[in-house]
């Protein structure tokens, strides 16, 4: 099922031709009308005329999150505020927040991309979808809300919190799909268990669209098996518009709508563009945005572009699941560590629930990494020896995955924080010293 088959299944040559047309128009317009972009391009020694083919995009300078912070609130906007119909503010945890704005046309494209995405995972006008992302300044709630309305699904705008009430509504309304963070869905499944609600038996849920935080295929398997559903990854950031793109029914990479975004993968150190299949930092150029254009915006997300057509028939480029962020990458004793690796390692230990908190500290000259992990109440043993062996085994697996020694601390079930939006499971105490 396609929402917009002409675009989603367009031939390769047409995609490249039209992407180039969009890019050329975008660059010319920014150079002529926007002092910020003009300054950036001049500083980089590049003129709109230098962009003669799609690959010439690599001649353009990068944009960074700091550009948005430095020009807070609206200095990068390219339309008058009378044309702005919505704002969102990023939940960034460091420094100044970033503000994004949308014209009516920007919202239209955002909604269109989500209508395509939701259709691709099988959500139709017959579904009832519970949107359990935060509504408000965060893009998740309202984005999914309008996308789901566009496909004609019945939307339950439950936002975050009041988990027991959310579960009652899920049962009472026969909710068939949910959009939320993966950790929140796991939390819901846990709470449901305590309430005597079995997802497989008592709900009609069949699809989850999960994102806004890193997760792994191992976590997907746990969610799919415990709830009897199919779980799909969703991707997008407020700079792009919000959550925009998902995997299709094949669960083999996230489809990016080619008419809206041109993706590149670069080496985060050198800025050099990498080829298909190579892992690196994702950089996006938004081809249709009006209010806040993004040219070669460095997302800090680490992924790779998947080459070749998808079995679903869509010809749009795909990216692999985000494996980490170049900026939440920890360097511990000289070794790069992604929290997603920690998560993946913990899921290999069935006695742990998968909730975790990482703390990195410096004791003397030595970096010490501690991972607190919750013990599954069913796996709890009275024998200190058994508990120590769970800890030892987890430490062994962690060592294998991360290549560094990690101290595991077992915690009570439910004692670590659950994140309902973007939250950081990493505490780096070294930066505070």
């Amino acid at each position: 099922m396609y929402w917009n088959p002409e675009v989603e299944c367009a031939p390769r040559e047409e995609i490249e031709r039209r992407q180039f047309e969009s890019l050329r128009g975008l660059v010319a317009n920014l150079y002529d009308n926007n002092p910020f972009y003009r300054g950036k391009m001049d500083g980089h020694g590049v003129k709109p005329g230098d962009i003669r083919c799609l690959e010439d995009i690599s001649k353009l300078p990068f944009m960074y999150k700091d550009d948005l912070r430095d020009n807070y609130p609206t200095k990068l906007f390219t339309v008058p505020t009378t044309d702005i119909v919505r704002y969102h503010v990023s939940s960034g945890t460091t420094g100044k927040p970033t503000l994004v704005g949308y014209t009516r046309e920007d919202l239209e494209y955002w909604t269109e991309s989500l209508a395509r995405a939701l259709t691709s995972v099988g959500i139709t006008d017959e579904d009832t979808i519970q949107v359990s992302y935060g509504y408000g300044l965060f893009t998740g709630g309202l984005g999914l809300h309008y996308g789901a309305e566009r496909v004609g699904a019945s939307v339950l705008p439950s936002s975050t919190g009041s988990t027991e009430r959310q579960l009652e509504l899920m049962v009472d309304l026969g909710v068939t799909a949910i959009a939320c963070t993966p950790s929140y869905l796991i939390h819901m499944i846990e709470v449901a268990g305590k309430m005597g609600i079995d997802f497989r038996r008592d709900t009609k849920l069949r699809i989850a669209v999960l994102g806004a935080e890193p997760w792994t295929d191992a976590m997907r398997k746990i969610i799919e098996e415990s709830a009897g559903i199919r779980a799909y990854d969703i991707f997008g950031t407020s700079e792009m518009a919000g959550p925009m793109f998902t995997e299709c029914g094949e669960q083999d990479g996230i489809h990016l709508s080619w008419d809206m975004v041109y993706p590149e993968i670069i080496d985060p150190e050198t800025g050099e563009v990498l080829g298909p299949g190579e892992e690196g930092e994702l950089v996006v150029t938004m081809l249709k945005k009006e209010a806040l254009p993004m040219v070669r915006f460095r997302l800090r997300d680490v992924t790779a572009i998947i080459e070749g057509p998808c079995k679903c028939g869509r010809t749009s480029p795909r990216i692999r699941r985000i494996t980490g962020r170049t900026d939440d990458m920890l360097i511990v004793r000289g070794i790069n560590v992604f929290p997603s690796q920690v998560e993946h390692a913990l899921l290999q230990v069935p006695e742990l629930t998968g909730h975790y908190q990482i703390t990195v500290d410096r004791i003397g000259a030595l970096d010490v990494m501690k991972v607190e992990a919750e013990i599954d109440p069913d796996a709890f043993s009275d024998k200190m020896e058994d508990l120590m062996s769970i800890k030892k085994r987890a430490e062994g697996i962690m060592k294998k995955y991360l290549n560094i020694g990690v101290r595991i601390e077992l915690r009570e079930h439910g004692s670590l924080p659950r994140y309902e939006g973007k939250g950081s499971r990493v505490k780096d105490m070294r930066s505070m010293k």
Binding site: E372, P377, K383, L387, E412, H413, S415
Partner: protein, 142 residues
């Protein structure tokens, strides 16, 4: 083993950090659970609270209802003399029978001191204790 020969003890997982015993203790209070005796074993980052409660089955169910990691475990309760050598008596019996004591703790008791012992071979332990003429206590005797 006949019923009533072993005592049901509650083993509760607790975080090893300020306030975590208080939070477990509050749940015990709210669930109306009275403890006769308890001890805490600690390790890196966590501890195990082992306790003898008035009604262990009911206590276990209510703690589970509050998402507390709790496991009922069996221990042997023996009455010992309230004088020097009381502990030696029971320890010697088990040592000579080659039975390893995993852990043990004591309770002043209404009818004199009681020692709770966790062993790896409870049946052999019971036989050795009886053969030595010592009394094994049931839950009703506490």
């Amino acid at each position: 083993m006949k019923d009533g020969e072993l005592i049901t003890q509650l083993s509760i997982f607790v975080n090893n950090e300020p306030g975590s015993l208080a939070s477990i203790a509050l749940v015990l209070k709210e669930c109306d659970i009275n403890l006769k005796a308890f001890n805490i074993a600690e390790s890196a980052g966590f501890g195990v609270l082992r306790a003898i409660a008035d009604d262990p089955r009911k206590a276990c169910a209510s703690l589970r209802g509050r998402s507390i990691a709790v496991k009922p475990t069996k221990v042997i309760a023996v009455h010992v003399e309230d004088q020097p050598g009381g502990l030696f008596g029971i320890a010697r019996i088990l040592g000579e029978a080659k039975i390893n004591i995993e852990y043990a703790y004591a309770y002043a008791g209404k009818k004199g001191p009681v020692i709770f012992v966790r062993v790896d071979e409870p049946e052999a332990a019971l036989a050795a204790i009886r053969a030595a003429g010592m009394k094994v206590l049931g839950e009703k005797d506490l």
